[in-house]
Amino acid sequence: MSEVTLRVNGERHSLDVEPSTPLLYVLRNDLGLRGPRFGCGLGQCGTCTVLMDGRAIRSCMRPVSRAEGEITTLEGLSAAGELDPVQQAWIDEQVPQCGYCQNGQILTAKALLDRNPDPSDEEIRQGMNGALCRCMTYYRVQSAVKRASEAIANGGGGADPNGAGGVNGAGAAAGEVDR
């Protein structure tokens, strides 16, 4: 083992680990973070995604010794107590099913929108393509990316919680999903 230094969500950490250890296990097991999750360990699915200096990287493939930049995890997006517009869009669109993959979806979208704040449908499909979801929430993920893009263009963007009609005779009411 040896001393490795990391910067994660604005904090510095010095750890005594094998330098070849994938960043994923250090984030999860040493720093107790829950956003990045194991999905394949092969760079194929995106569930382990974190941002490094704003770029989406796969923490399962990155030796901890080569995680030199500023790492942001899902927790880090709302570290200041405010949800990122991407996270807010995910809630407004009620995207997740099980949610296991959504760390990868959200951070991939975050990196995409930072690069290209107004992506076309095709650019969204392209940019998100490596983030797999086995509950197949792609349709809502893509709507949420568009919603986040609009919110960013409008300077931050929360949601109007009202709207959406009911069925079974119940009328629309406050507190319902606005989709």
Partner: protein, 815 residues
């Protein structure tokens, strides 16, 4: 913008793992609800006969382990919450909020949110004043966990009745307090007031907050549980029917949720399994010295052909599993055919013994042979559907804590109750000393490998005497997870001169022998690898498509075939979302389309004619509701009636539309797919889908829509990409390259969900709530294949339709 912290309410302290666990237990204990029943069962090693290398070993693998003590003290036991006590289901806190306890789990379809809505409605409490706890064997009554899309259809009913009963008791308490008859009280959002004098009011918290109800319920089983109060009529429901946001989503979006995969306990170590490299291989030797120098190495555990390595840290365990030197002996007979030869093998194999493996619902009506012989036109076709896996996005995992002679398993297994009893049986422990805590995890669409991982963790934890975390690797999940069975289905149909269907003969072969059930101590993978065998392997039958077509002469037969290797095989089958539905409906609904084409009829009109062939209906109006969904889908799509295929296009991209209809239990569904077929690349894109869906009373329209969208896209994935491939020795689908799934590129541009909700009589909104977790899934493969036929004139009879296969089929047809 809302603050993250507010959006991530952790469940109240009753949920906290240790402290809360105790307080909830104490709460229940002081109410005298626990039935302590160790004496009723003898828990020494249970005798299961063992045909494998383990030779006569019992399932109770080694009796009580290092931490086991003979006499379970009450402190380390977890008796079952009594479903006949109101306090087991519902607690009102001093501040007037409530916690509900249900024995279900939520795989991401919003089951918890829907149950909370229903219980709030019956209790007359605002939705945001309640929390809901699910699937902890020590805290929530045994409702079996998830399965069969029955949470809303079946298990919500006792929960509703119990909440209604709580409301009744609260009104009674208020009646005493105000000395006013209960029917002169009104209640709104947890406040009871005197109708004539609203200033006289009390909150639920004032009336009972923090105290027990001590009210006994009745019912011969958990599903019948009821108090005295009736549930509300549909017209009285206020919280039900609204698209309330799912309570679990914020914490899944801001990273604050603790998942089963996150559980870390003091002293916990990490394990990885080492699987046989060839199906049916026998482990000859293990060289522990090959890994002894890996830092953090603790132990190799071996029993029969089951092998695991245990290390202090996760990455060390991964390295040790990769480095461990073992010698395996291949079995002499090939365990199974290759996936290339699968369907030929299945059609040629002798079905498993007479009287087994037949359809549980053999259908024989009229005289199909005579009708076929005299038919004007006979249509014949065979359909092939490969093995498909769950391949969860997060491979199977569990943490087990063996401290103090008890065993606690943290898991996302969708059936925590059978997980508990199965593990207890496997370890030879009293069930009361085993506790299973369900936590969120990746999808739970059936009998996943979460079952297997929990048993492994518990076994290893007992061997090590320390908490153990087991995590399967990607290749294990994809290769060794339970599979949905392969089908080879042959159909013959007869049409008369007028194009009416006069006969249908359906014969299916299903590769489903020794199908594994849920959490069975004698079929979980670790048991199989240890040489344990079930006394009675499942014969592995199946049923045909579920439709309401009126066809005077028909036969339906489904028989199981087996491979040489029935156990310790990566081709073990188990329930996968909508078990057998997508396979049988693919064949059934593709074939109806083939007959429509032979009759030169419009596919929608052809189906409606078959549905209207009789006016007989059943008590749940399944026929009328089937007709309604087919009509609703066609209308929403803008279906223009004409036979398929359409006039051939000449460009590179051909487009077409196809319909498929089915019901599942009580839910009727019709789905229309519009596809684009790229003639040059072979790529199929489902551009648009319309799904008309009738599951009766809708609890949460947006949640239902999300669930249906997931079902449809999962169906697209199984139709276009998913196939477990294998050579004659092993499964070769081991990751996302060798076992592709749909990606963002494949998502439809538009999905329209049409909630039919109780037709045929839209003025009759009192249809009960039926299941929606699976029914729409089964309609997808045939809708896509029928649309490809419409676009190209080429019939796709084998899924998945990866580009290579589509190109091959187009070339073969000269299209």
């Amino acid at each position: 913008m809302k603050r993250a912290a507010e959006l991530s309410p952790r469940l109240d302290d009753a949920l906290a793992r240790w402290e809360g666990g105790t307080s909830r237990r104490d709460f229940l204990k002081t109410s005298g609800l626990f039935v302590l029943g160790f004496s009723s069962v003898g828990f020494s090693s249970v005798g299961f006969s063992s045909a494998g290398s383990g030779g006569g070993r019992g399932i109770g693998v080694a009796g009580l382990g290092p931490n086991g003590s003979g006499d379970p003290g009450e402190t380390n036991s977890y008796p079952d919450p009594d479903y006949l006590q109101l306090d087991s289901w519902l607690v009102v806190h001093e501040d007037g909020s409530a916690t509900f306890y249900v024995g279900k789990t939520d795989g991401g379809q919003g089951t918890g949110t829907a149950m909370r809505q229903m219980m709030c409605d019956e209790l007359d409490l605002a939705y945001d004043r309640a929390t809901l706890v699910m699937g902890r064997t020590d805290m929530t009554v045994d409702q079996g966990g998830s399965g069969g899309s029955d949470a809303i259809e079946r298990d919500a009913l006792p929960a509703r009745r119990v909440a209604a009963e709580a409301r009744r008791v609260l009104l009674e308490l208020a009646s005493e307090r105000f000395d006013v008859p209960a029917d002169e009280l009104t209640v709104s959002e947890g406040v009871v007031s005197v109708a004539a004098d609203p200033a006289r009011a009390a909150t639920y918290g004032d009336l009972i907050g923090g105290r027990r109800f001590d009210v006994a319920l009745t019912g011969r089983n958990v599903n019948e549980t009821t108090g005295l109060a009736p549930i509300k009529s549909v017209q009285e429901l206020r919280v039900v029917g609204r698209s309330l946001p799912r309570y679990d989503i914020p914490a899944k979006v801001d990273g604050s949720l603790e998942w089963a995969v996150d559980v870390q306990l003091p002293g916990m170590v990490h394990a990885r399994n080492v699987r046989p490299p060839f199906a049916g291989a026998r482990l000859a030797s293990v060289d522990e010295s090959s890994v002894r120098d890996i830092p953090g190495f603790i132990r190799v555990v071996r029993e029969g052909n089951y092998v695991a390595v245990v290390c202090e840290r996760e990455e060390q365990a991964i390295r040790a599993a990769e480095s461990l030197a073992l010698e395996w002996e291949k079995s002499e007979t090939a365990p199974f055919p290759s996936s290339e030869d699968l369907f030929e093998y299945m059609r040629g194999a002798t079905p498993v013994g007479a009287g087994t493996g037949t359809s549980p619902r053999p259908r024989a009506e009229g005289d199909p042979d005579a009708a076929l012989a005299s038919a004007a036109t006979v249509v014949e076709a065979g359909y092939d559907i490969p093995f498909q896996g769950h391949t969860a996005i997060g491979p199977a995992h569990a943490v087990a804590d063996p401290s103090d002679g008890q065993m606690t398993v943290y898991t996302n297994d969708m059936k925590p109750y059978s997980h508990r009893t199965g593990i207890a049986e496997f370890l030879g422990m009293p069930p009361a000393r085993v506790r299973v805590i369900w936590m969120e995890g990746p999808q739970l669409y059936g009998r996943t490998a979460a079952d297997d991982a929990g048993f492994e963790a518990a076994y290893l934890a007992r061997e090590l005497g320390r908490p153990v975390r087991v995590q399967w690797m990607r290749h294990e999940e994809t290769a060794w997870d339970t599979k949905g069975p392969a089908f080879a289905i042959d159909l013959r149909g007869g049409l008369d001169d007028a194009g009416n269907v006069v006969a249908l003969d359906y014969r299916a072969r299903i590769a489903n022998y020794a199908h594994v059930g849920y959490n069975q101590a004698d079929t979980v993978l670790i048991a199989q690898l240890m040489g344990i065998r079930p006394e009675q392997p499942s014969p592995g039958g199946g049923r045909g498509p579920d439709e309401m077509y009126h066809i005077p002469n028909r036969r339906e037969e489904t028989r199981a075939v087996r491979f040489p290797l029935a156990f310790e095989t990566p081709l073990r089958t188990g329930n996968l979302r909508d078990p057998n539905g997508p396979q049988t409906t693919f064949a059934g609904e593709s074939f109806i389309d083939e007959m429509a084409a032979a009759a030169n009829a419009d596919p929608v009109e052809f189906r409606l004619r078959l549905l209207r062939g009789t006016t007989e209906d059943d008590a749940t109006f399944r026929r009328a509701r089937s007709i309604a969904v087919v009509e609703a889908a066609a209308e929403a799509f803008g279906w223009d009636p004409r036979p398929s295929p359409r006039a051939p296009g000449s460009g590179r991209i051909l487009t077409g539309r196809g319909i498929s209809y089915a019901y599942r239990v009580q839910t009727a569904v019709a789905t229309i797919a519009e596809v684009e077929v790229d003639r040059e690349s072979g790529r199929v894109w489902v551009r648009r889908m319309v799904c008309a869906h009738d599951c009766g009373l809708v609890i949460n329209p947006d949640g239902l829509e999300n669930t249906i969208q997931g079902n449809l896209l999962h169906g697209i994935s199984r139709t276009l990409y998913e196939e477990v491939q294998f050579d004659g020795e092993r499964v070769t689908s081991v990751d996302w390259r060798t076992h592709p799934t749909i990606t963002h590129r494949d998502a439809p541009e538009q999905i329209d969900v049409v909630i039919v909700n109780g037709d045929p009589n839209p003025d009759r909104p009192d249809l009960p709530h039926y299941g929606a977790g699976e029914p729409s899934h089964r309609t997808v493969p045939a809708a896509i294949a029928n649309a490809i036929y419409d676009a190209t004139g080429v019939r796709m009879r084998r899924i998945p339709l990866r580009p290579e296969r589509v190109l091959e089929e187009l070339a073969a047809a000269g299209a």
